[in-house]
């Protein structure tokens, strides 16, 4: 077309981003901002030296027990000794690779989501997550695969946290979508049902939900059926999470103009194909931050499985801190917990930012012809 004959011109230097322009930006900042920078630097100078010598310079990394640690520094030997347990719970040592697979699976999926773009990347990540509930359960349990069976009582640590969080999210995602559609349905019965369901689960604290699912659900099952507590807890967490996700999705659907549904209808889409191809994809894009927010909350909430006797990462560290051989190491234990939880949540927030960035770029890919 005629447009392509216009010679292509690059934007002026100043609008390009990069380190050099960032530094130039700092020099031109206002006095208030300079004072804030100064305060930050002073604060760091005051705290950092003590922290570094405690956490790194005077720290002990290898020791048999508490008495082998230098009392003036951190006793990381405690963490190092217990690392397999923190990571894999009470999994038999020779089977720990299976727990490692279940632990690494979602992390690798997220890493791919953060990595360089390639054709079919989002499909790969979505597929890996969708396959997780069945896949990870089989790998951990082992018996159906012909591996030595490991009962859920032996699962634990970070593996448990990641397993419960990922399974609950993956299962809650479709349930939440259906609930959101139900709440917006034109059929009154469906609307009332979905609304009541969402409000009931959302209105209860997760601890109560877990008690209900572990104590009450067995009464509803035919007598004689035995489900592991983990399965019951997962049902509860999934329903709880799906009610939150439903409201996030509903917000996304609400944000689409009426025109999109009408255009789809006018082209002969049915209710379900319009939802599937036109409305839900747009709604999900609109609420990525809300979804990730729910995932971060879910990830931290998984620790409540303690109330039904399961040992996730936080609870297993908690128990280890009380070990007589390693008494008085709560600081090290909880700092480690904090770093691990924070890293996971940071990874999630990077993924959210990356997805938003990808979408913004896709939607505004080079307007110049």
């Amino acid at each position: 077309m005629t447009l392509s004959t216009i010679p292509s011109r690059l934007p002026p230097e100043a609008s390009r981003t990069g380190i050099s322009s960032g530094l130039r930006g700092m020099a031109s900042e206002s006095p208030v901002s300079l004072i804030l920078w100064l305060a930050l630097a002073l604060g760091a100078a005051w705290i950092l030296p003590g922290l570094v010598s405690w956490a790194l310079l005077d720290a002990t990394w290898v020791a048999e027990d508490r008495s082998g640690c230098d009392p003036s520094g951190a006793c990381w030997a405690f963490i190092v000794n217990r690392l397999p347990q923190f990571g894999f719970g009470f999994f038999p040592p020779q089977e720990r690779w299976r727990a490692a697979v279940a632990l690494a699976w979602p992390v690798v999926a997220l890493a791919i989501a953060l990595g360089p773009a390639f054709r079919g990347r989002s499909g790969l990540v979505a597929g890996a997550l969708a396959a997780y509930p069945v896949g990870a359960t089989l790998v951990l349990w082992g018996e159906p695969l012909g591996l030595p069976g490991v009962g859920t009582a032996q699962w634990g640590g970070m593996t448990m946290t990641v397993y419960v969080g990922t399974v609950a999210f993956v299962l809650a995602f479709p349930v939440g979508l259906v609930l959101a559609l139900g709440r917006r349905s034109s059929l009154p019965a469906l609307r009332v049902l979905s609304t009541v369901f969402i409000e009931v689960w959302r209105g209860l604290p997760l601890i109560a939900v877990l008690f209900i699912s572990v104590v009450m659900v067995p009464f509803l099952l035919p007598p004689g059926t035995e489900l592991p507590r983990l399965a019951l807890a997962l049902v509860g967490i999934t329903l709880y999470t799906s009610s939150y996700l439903a409201e996030v999705f509903r917000g996304g659907l609400q944000s689409l103009g009426k025109g999109q549904a009408e255009a789809a209808a006018a082209l002969g889409f049915t209710y379900w194909t319009a939802q599937g191809y036109i409305l839900i994809p747009q709604a999900i894009r609109a609420v990525i931050p809300g979804i990730l927010n729910t995932v971060v909350a879910l990830f931290k909430d998984t620790t409540y499985v303690l109330v039904v006797g399961l040992f996730d990462f936080l609870n297993i560290v908690n128990a280890a801190v009380a070990d007589p051989h390693w008494l008085g190491l709560a600081n090290e234990g909880y700092i480690f917990v904090g770093i691990v939880y924070w890293s996971f949540c940071f990874l999630l927030s990077r993924v959210s930012a990356r997805i938003e960035w990808d979408m913004a770029r896709g939607a505004a890919r080079e307007a110049r012809t």
Binding site: Q260, E262, A263, A265, L267, G268, T270, Y277, A363, A364
Partner: protein, 245 residues
């Protein structure tokens, strides 16, 4: 094949207590274009939306290609696959590029294979003068380009009838020309079209009949030459004086 493409008899519609359409009669023969005009709020959009079942009505009958339009969802879906619609504010799907906007509906609703649908879509985009814009997203297109993609998208379903609801009202003068050119070529190619528009030049040039609506009724219905030369009602005279400067 003698049945008219569109036949509306005694159509009345209420929004609550408000009578939006009052005993409408309308016939559009196959291969003819009709322009619907009239003052704001006279019910033009409402009538158009009844033709593809986006609105329901209380009294009367709408017959499209000999088949009465029912209210069952399954029948409405079947009807809408035969009737294309172009909206004032485009309503392109912003998460899809131009090519997919055009190729997706026939893929999903007519069961076309992907390659076939995309080849067809490329041809339609070329037909509306947008061959180079297939991979652009709606956010990267001008208003006139968006509306031409929307027309290509409606054509992709191979509709028997095309409905336009003020397709140029949201556009600047230059884009209006681009879109009208496409619509004129469609009319010349013998498409059956119903067009709500205030572009009287377009009406004069292509349509077979002008329907002038006022307060939910069809006030006048006659060939464009007569409508522009000697409008029968006072209201139509006032309207024409308004839209032609």
């Amino acid at each position: 094949m003698t049945a008219a493409a569109i036949n509306v008899v005694g159509l009345s519609k209420w929004f609550g207590d408000f009578l939006a359409l009052d005993d409408i009669a309308l016939t559009v023969p196959r291969g003819c274009s009709t322009v619907l005009c009239g003052p704001s709020g006279s019910g033009k959009s409402t009538l158009l939306r009844c033709l593809n079942g986006l609105e329901s009505w209380e009294e009367g009958e709408v017959v499209m290609s000999g088949r009465p339009v029912g209210h069952r969802p399954r029948d409405l879906v079947a009807l809408r696959r035969r009737v294309g619609m172009v909206f004032q504010d485009f309503n392109l799907f912003p998460h899809l590029d131009a090519l997919s906007n055009v190729a997706l509906p026939p893929r999903v609703n007519l069961g076309l294979a992907r390659a076939e649908a995309e080849a067809e879509a490329e041809m339609l985009l070329a037909q509306v003068g947008l061959a180079d814009f297939a991979r652009k997203y709606p956010a990267q297109l001008s208003g006139g380009q968006k509306q031409r993609v929307a027309i290509a998208r409606a054509l992709a379903m191979q509709p028997e009838v095309l409905l336009f609801d003020e397709p140029t009202s949201a556009l600047d003068p230059e884009s209006i020309g681009e879109v009208l050119d496409v619509m004129i070529s469609l009319a010349d190619a013998g498409r059956t079209m119903v067009v709500v528009t205030h572009e009287m030049g377009f009406a004069r040039r292509v349509c077979h009949e002008v329907v002038f609506m006022c307060a939910g009724r069809v006030a006048e219905c006659c060939p464009p030459e007569r409508f522009f030369a000697e409008p029968e009602t006072e209201r139509a005279r006032a309207f024409l004086a308004q839209v032609q400067y």
